[in-house]
Amino acid sequence: MRKPSPYLWFIAPAVIVILAVIVFPWAFTLWMSLFEWRIGSKATFVGLTNYTDLIGNRRFLESVAHTLIFTAAAVAAPLVLGTAAALVFHQKFFARGLLRAAFVLPMMATPVAIALVWTMMFHPQQGVLNYLLSLVGIGPSEWVYSPRLAIACLVMVDVWQWTPLVMLIVLGGLASLPTESFEAAHMEGASRWQTLRHVTLPLLMPFVLVAAVVRMIDALKTFDTIYVITQGGPGTASETINIYLYLQAFSFFQIGKASAVVVVFFVLVIALSWLLFWLRERSKYYE
């Protein structure tokens, strides 16, 4: 029998850390999801009941729908705006560096601080947004205080903060594109639009998809801004899985149920990430 390589000892610390901080919490979460356990009470084994309860739980299903809507909008809009901004900032013009720095500022701020500022701006009576609307003759809006507008307003905050990230990723991609394709297009007499549509964007696609994966994971796990601005309200109008999960775990102390929500959420994140990685693989036609 072959003796294990002594080099294996070198990876032991990493393996121990991964087991302790990733594998064990996950296994324990899975285990807890099989119990009905409210902190302070006795835990009772209930098998898959927590999962079957979630299937019939309208509030949970609504929170899944809110999460998907929020994520779709908070990924799509920054991708479009960020790519457009990258194309602009890739050009040479006066004060480009200064404007580019200003453009990335929202990304640097702490989400909770941003959320507090936006909360004040959204205020129907004292917020600056309704004041600005009044200047152009538009009536006041209830913004996040309206069940119909809450998610749209939260998307707006997210887009404002994270479009610069997409811009930076795509800008990096633009700088690394091979020049031959552009020279060939130029020689063939392609217009600027044709070059953009048929050369630049297809070559950029892998970078855009990387940005999409990063944004999607971020958007799916958004908690801070939503909690500070709406706490999932009005009612449950903007309650995402994360907010629902937080309530179950840290307000109601229903650890078993919350663990089941975590597992479902994890499956959702994995499924969506695989989808995007699959798309990314398909877009690598030039390799």
């Binding site: 009470s41 009576q125 205080y145 069940p147 309200g233 009005p234 840290f250 109601f252």
Partner: protein, 438 residues
Amino acid sequence: MTNKIHRRTVIQAAAAAGGMAALTPWSFAQGAFDWKRFAGTSLEVHLVKGPRGELLQKNQKEFEDLTGIKVGAEQIPEQQSRQKAVIEFNSGKTSFDVIQLSYHVQKRQFAKGRWLEDLRPMFANVPAEFDRTDFTAGGMFYATQADGRIDSLPLNLDPWILYWNKELFAAKGVAYPKSYAEIVEAAKKLHDPANGIVGFVGRGLKNANVPLWTGLFLGFGGQFFDAAGKLATETPEAIASASMYRDLLKNTGPAGVAGYNWNESQSLFLQGKAAMWIDGSGFAPPLEDPTKSRVVGKVGYGVMPPGPKLQVSATFGDGIGVSAFSTKKGAAFLYTMWATGKVMQARMLASGGGAPVRLSAYSDKEALANLKVPVDWLKAVGESMRIARPGLPVIEPVTEFRDTFGIALNNMLSGADVAAELKKATAEFAPVLAKSES
């Protein structure tokens, strides 16, 4: 009416105080009681961020000098404090010896886990000045568990009162309402959205909004449970009170009121843009602060008018207790006695940081002379104490209760049917309650 209340409050309090005005921070030390018996010990105290926590921390050196006990106190925001408490108590080891608690949220939870030490055996050895009979009945009601255990001492009560803008009332010739119907009527008369004035403001935000409704519910004669112990939150009284809640906020409240908590309500009232506001009693200091408020000197502090069946002030409260897992219970008990003593209670009154639970505080001459809030506030609070009732059911899953019914109230503001929402919320909450008590 107000003069009568004032006289009664002062006479009642003076009688109860019986010469307490001369009390100094050192009064405790003058008797035979040995405050120094735990000298050299260190205590960890878990306080909730707010005026009460602030007051205790500010004066803790006095306790340290009195007892020789070193205190490490930490003020934690309410939500985080509740999470920390549950997690630590559940682990069977707490990092604190003394903890401040909110009765309306944590009383039943702490009792079920037996997380606080029963203080009754310790009452056998207390200084005469401690005088347990000085605590109000409401305070001791909150501090006493269903099985008779007294596992905390009351710190303050927070009766809900009606704040009203005297200037706006006078401008429209409206008198202070004498009934629930008159509140609605006055709100309609005072509501003037064209000039940015709303007739009424209050909590619409889910969870936070429930006490406003339950206060009205109690006034309609509602009870949280029927004689058989079944949840009674879809009764005619519940529907009538929820309809009143919806009408007040939807028809005479600000746009977007579904997102209003106490701070948004306070902000609108401070600006002089709301004629009436029902909320806890602790808002007099900001309303009378000229650097923040445009309504200084114009605020009326009113007792809740009688409901169709009962005159009630929905009341909430805080207490302070000794962790059952503490190894320094004796020293921790000294801290709770000091924190709820006559001197600290008088200080609380003077600062306007809460309504004391000791009668003596209301006649403490020094406290009254240093009162930083109008005497009208004191009258309203004194009278509210007389009609105080717990504003929430004393149950373990009170947060779920607030969440479930808070969403129902929110939906009503968006146009949903009141009776249907209450029925749905009751059906949703009943199994949660049943499980918690099983």
